[in-house]
């Protein structure tokens, strides 16, 4: 590993001013669960790290009936997984978090770091997008709110500016008659996800008809993939097995996966069909009861 200068920020404000000062050579360090490996492999060699891990002001999970959920960017994966609040109101996040890396990484790694890593196989982004998440980005110059759906631009790349810090993830209150389901496919249980998906289904109250749908997938495109046509196919329809199967096929056709050691592109598409079908079914069943 190369040497670097190290600053530990004691407030968000200080962090912002440090990052604006060092934006060309510096990197924000949260839990380091991705960053340290990149440094060790010399894939990146910043000359300075601005450590924000200690910022208590960005470590919170708060809920308000009107405005919904707010998660500080430095909240750890484990805190989200174990939060009674999240288990009660956004259980899919807790379930999804159980599949993120290992307990040790979840204990130290942060949700903000995960999103900013923009790894196309990351698990949280699809679930958060399905829940309608927005991000609050702050810098010395001010702050802005962006939809998570618009955050990612390419492999490991986001719209975040070098002097910006992700401060908060915001989600609307849980929608009525809606269920969100996370599903993954990997060779070994804790293995790399060949595909994972989060599906949100809203039904017309007391019926089998789908009012709204959102299907988001990871590992099948450079960024978390939000299907347009497949979700559209479900809307306004009674969700019979045939309808679901057709939508799943459509979802597969919307993906653009690559081949790697874990799976070929063709196989990933096949898995998308199965996984999306299963996730829609499950979300649908749950939505009817929600």
């Amino acid at each position: 590993m190369k040497d670097f200068e190290y600053f530990s920020a004691s407030s968000l404000q200080e962090a912002c001013s440090l990052i604006s000062q060092y934006k060309d050579v510096g990197k924000v360090l949260a839990g380091g669960q991705s960053l340290i490996t990149l440094l060790r492999q010399k894939l990146i060699s910043p000359t300075c790290l601005i450590d924000i891990k200690g910022l208590k002001e960005l470590d919170y999970i708060e809920f308000d009936k009107k405005s919904g959920l707010r998660i500080g960017a430095l909240t750890t994966h484990r805190a989200i997984e174990k939060s009674p609040l999240i288990q009660e109101k956004y259980n899919v996040l807790s379930e999804m978090e159980k599949s993120v890396a290992s307990v040790q990484t979840r204990n130290w790694g942060t949700i903000g770091g995960n999103l900013c890593s923009a790894d196309p196989i990351g698990d949280p982004a699809p679930s958060l997008i399905a829940l309608g998440a927005k991000l609050k980005l702050v810098s010395a110059k001010g702050e802005r709110i962006v939809a998570l759906e618009e955050f990612f631009t390419d492999y490991f790349t986001t719209i975040i500016e070098p002097d910006e810090i992700l401060a908060e993830i915001q989600m609307p209150p849980p929608a009525p008659n809606t269920a969100v389901e996370y599903m993954k496919f990997s060779t070994i249980e804790a293995g790399i996800k060949i595909v994972s998906t989060s599906v949100a289904i809203t039904v017309e109250a007391g019926s089998d008809v789908c009012k709204d749908a959102k299907i988001v997938m990871s590992a099948v495109a450079p960024i978390p993939l939000v299907t347009k046509k497949a979700a559209e196919m479900l809307k306004g329809k009674k969700l019979t097995d045939d309808v679901i199967e057709e939508a799943a096929k459509m979802a597969a056709s919307e993906t653009d996966p690559t081949s790697d050691v874990h799976a070929s592109a063709e196989y990933r598409k096949e898995i998308v069909k199965v996984l999306v079908k299963r996730a829609i079914k499950k979300a649908f069943e749950k939505a009817k009861k929600a």
Binding site: Y6, L49, S102, W108
Partner: protein
């Protein structure tokens, strides 16, 4: 930039240290190279095996992927800090011994630290909880069965003890 040394204060296995280190030093290097605590092992260096697991403020973390600077002001426990100084093993260590829960022993410190933290966090885990929480600790020798049995034995012991 020169990566000039910085000072940290850290408590390791109950002892307080003030150390001057390069910022790039990992917690694993701090333990093994600076403090000579070689019980914590390194088997992959890329955050994927769990051999380097230690406990920081009650949480299991992988020491190879945490910068030593980040444990400034925190409490670290490594495998050397489990048994008492006069040679009394913890119930988990006893159970590992009794159940032949290890073979080569290279993954064992990490497994002990993960399971110690887990049993602190969960009062009554099921076997499924245990298996899921131990996913981060790879073991090539044992096939896991005997050490999962050892952990479950401690869970049962504790339940019986609390009755």
């Amino acid at each position: 930039m020169n990566g000039s040394k910085k000072t940290i204060n850290v408590k390791v296995n109950g002892e307080s240290y003030e150390l001057s280190i390069k910022p790039k030093m990992t917690l694993l290097q701090l333990l093994r190279n600076e403090l000579g605590l070689t019980g914590t092992k390194q088997a992959c260096m890329d955050n994927s095996c769990g051999a380097c697991t230690v406990i920081v403020n009650k949480m299991a973390v992988k020491a190879c992927s945490v910068l030593a600077m980040q444990v400034n002001g925190k409490e670290v426990t490594s495998v050397e800090g489990l048994a008492s100084r006069d040679g009394k093993l913890t119930p988990l260590q006893e159970a590992f011994l009794e159940h032949s829960a290890f073979q080569c022993g290279f993954c064992t410190p990490g497994k002990l630290m993960s399971s110690t933290a887990m049993l602190e966090e969960m009062s009554d885990p099921t076997e499924e909880d245990v298996r899921r929480d131990m996913e981060g600790n790879l073991c090539r020798c044992t096939g896991y069965v005997q050490y999962l049995a050892a952990i479950m034995a401690v869970v049962r012991q504790r339940k019986e003890g609390s009755k």
